[in-house]
Symmetry: C2
Subunit: 393 residues, 2 copies
């Protein structure tokens, strides 16, 4: 399949994306400018990207559906990690361009492997250990002090799959619960987090890479609620975070976008986790940078020159729109939100459910506080909570 | 149908676009952010917008296909003028939201009517007259001096349908030719154009309107080749052009985007023609303004608050990509063009043919000349003419 990428003169190359969530949706939107063809393998025809794309196969992200899907694509990429890395390795062996590679996908989907590999490579990570049974947790707590943080080895997101344990009793209860559900665990020392940051890198097969401005990711209940760019941190720390991002991207040989989530502890950075795909922490790049993470992901997996990541404004703030408790559809509130000067609204076309990520709002400005306040106002209006931030409803 | 627009709480409204060219393609791209549903009525499934959109009906832009199409839409809008204004008036009478209205569409598609109405309203236009036969042209030339400009009453674009006539002989020859083809004509005095400008306005049904920075449209062989924003003109002239745009939009009651093409003669502005839809002269708004013409067209026809038109940079230049003589596909040259710093490439997914509009490149910068040079380089590389602008191929 790689062969056809070298003969694009006869037409645009086709990028296949396994998964059709909002990341694929925004990647699809970016592909329209480039004239690149994007095919999607969607779990459901109602998926966020599937409802807007013209070329959608419906099927699971593993098994024969993926093999069939790959046949029609010049390069295969992903909007989530729920794929079968062994299957991807077979596709690679038979000549498919899989980007990021099966190896990198395996790393991104396995927190235990991430910890081991990043540790071996010398990147800053917290003390950690695999967990077979409760005694491993208890021993780890005894050695590193309580609380400790247990994590599901695979599949956790948005705060799911992470448990802060304050003592042996909680540890035993967790292991009973997870063992029954077949969830494998690892354990890490509790990091006294002062700030959560993220740095995004886009990297081509040959190694050319660009790094985005470091963002602060403001979390609530384990879910990223806001992005602030540039992250309000010391310039040396931001520079160190960017170096760290570039270093990890190079070390693991990622192709496409790599998101590196970081904890700041004083003036120290600790790697939290990696995602080898466009990432929630990069939404602010759509309006906030010269080239969005979505366009650069496409350019990277096609081995095309990457675009500049120059900030478009001194301050960029993104606020996520989570479904309100009453299940109201934010589309109904669009006219109110669009009254907010300079609010760039993105809705994902997903059915509204309480707590579900339904969209985001980005604002650009001169001052981070003012910009953040504007993005917050528009996001609050979208979920009918204008009053909560001082806006008459 | 309007009724369902007021109950968007049950889901996103559906905007139907008659026509599926590159304007519809970029409008579709903008709709993905807003979560608005866009349906297309495409003449062919291979049309620029049809290849990227998920909901496409294929059929002619007139007749029963349009009636059927309108039934599934909350609001009907257009990416070209090749529609039947009488049919649209019937749809309006039966309750459909047609935006712009049938009246405005009729005006946009009929240059004779445009001249008459703009003249009556007191807007600056050149001397003009309808043409029944060659004697009208000869009499007009005798009165206003040769050369004169004959124009097809309907359907002309990109320099087609415009003839500069230097005397009675040319006039007679033209009338013989056009009469045989059933082309109706009007005639205008030849304007000693010093610069061509365009101003875009987006207007809601209630009258709220925003106006974009005035652009210079650099023409070659009647085809717009470049956009320069802000237009290098005196501030008073730019202000007058914006006022003129807003005044015409209000006077004709347009809903959606209105493009007003202008001639500058000294410090005087003369209206050339109107287009009541997103327009080629607004491509630079995608990266160059806080809100693109495409997003504001959607917001306007949905009667939603309009977005700011604030420039994103001191200088914005857009260069159109026309098919090269060898019929080469610019997609093949994308990797070369993307090497140009800050080149925002848009390809329309159309089959390459010599002279066909296949895409455009926009660059942002501090200085118009430098910015224009960058956009030109990328556009030249896309059509394999890097050498022509000093780039080794």
């Amino acid at each position: 399949m790689l062969a056809s990428m070298t003969s694009v003169a006869t037409g645009a190359p086709t990028v296949g994306i396994v998964g059709a969530g909002q990341l694929a949706r925004m990647t699809y939107q970016a592909s329209i400018s480039l004239g690149v063809r994007v095919r999607l393998l969607a779990a459901s025809a109602a998926d966020s990207a599937a409802v807007v794309a013209s070329d959608v196969a419906v099927g699971p992200p593993t098994g024969p559906a993926v093999d069939r899907f790959a046949e029609g694509c010049d390069v295969l990429t992903f909007d989530h990690e729920l794929v079968d890395a062994d299957q991807l390795a077979c596709l690679e062996a038979s000549g498919s361009a899989v980007r990021p590679s099966a190896d990198v996908v395996a790393l991104a989907q396995d927190k235990r492997r991430q910890r081991a590999q990043l540790g071996t490579l010398g990147f800053p990570i917290p003390p950690h250990a695999p967990v077979r049974d409760a005694s491993d947790l208890v021993a780890f707590g005894a050695e590193h002090g309580w609380p400790i943080v247990a994590k599901a080895r695979r599949g956790g997101y948005d705060g799911r799959g992470v448990w802060v344990l304050d003592g042996p009793e909680a540890a035993t209860a967790l292991v009973e619960h997870t063992a029954a559900s077949g969830i494998e665990l690892l354990v890490e020392a509790h990091v006294p987090i002062e700030q959560e940051l993220a740095v995004l890198v886009a990297r081509r097969p040959g190694g050319q890479a660009v790094v985005y401005p470091v963002v602060e990711t403001v979390q609530q209940d384990g879910i990223c609620r806001e992005l602030l760019a540039p992250a309000p941190v010391a310039p040396e720390l931001a520079a160190a975070a960017r170096e760290l991002g570039l270093g990890i991207a190079e070390a693991i040989g990622v192709v496409g976008v790599l998101a590196v989530e970081l904890f700041r502890v004083g003036d120290r950075l600790v790697v939290n986790e990696l995602a080898a795909r466009p990432h929630n922490s990069g939404h602010s790049t759509i309006e906030g940078c010269a080239t969005s993470q979505f366009e650069n992901h496409l350019r990277a997996v096609l081995d095309w020159p990457l675009g500049a990541t120059t900030p478009a404004a001194p301050a960029v703030a993104t606020v996520n729109v989570l479904g309100s408790a009453d299940g109201g559809d934010p589309v109904a509130n669009l006219p109110a939100a669009l009254e907010i000067e300079g609010a760039h609204v993105h809705l994902y076309g997903k059915a509204a459910r309480p707590g579900r990520k339904l969209g985001h709002v980005t604002a650009l400005g001169q001052d981070l506080d003012e910009t953040r306040a504007r993005a917050r106002r528009a996001a609050a209006l979208l979920v009918g909570r204008g009053a909560a931030v001082g806006i008459p409803t």
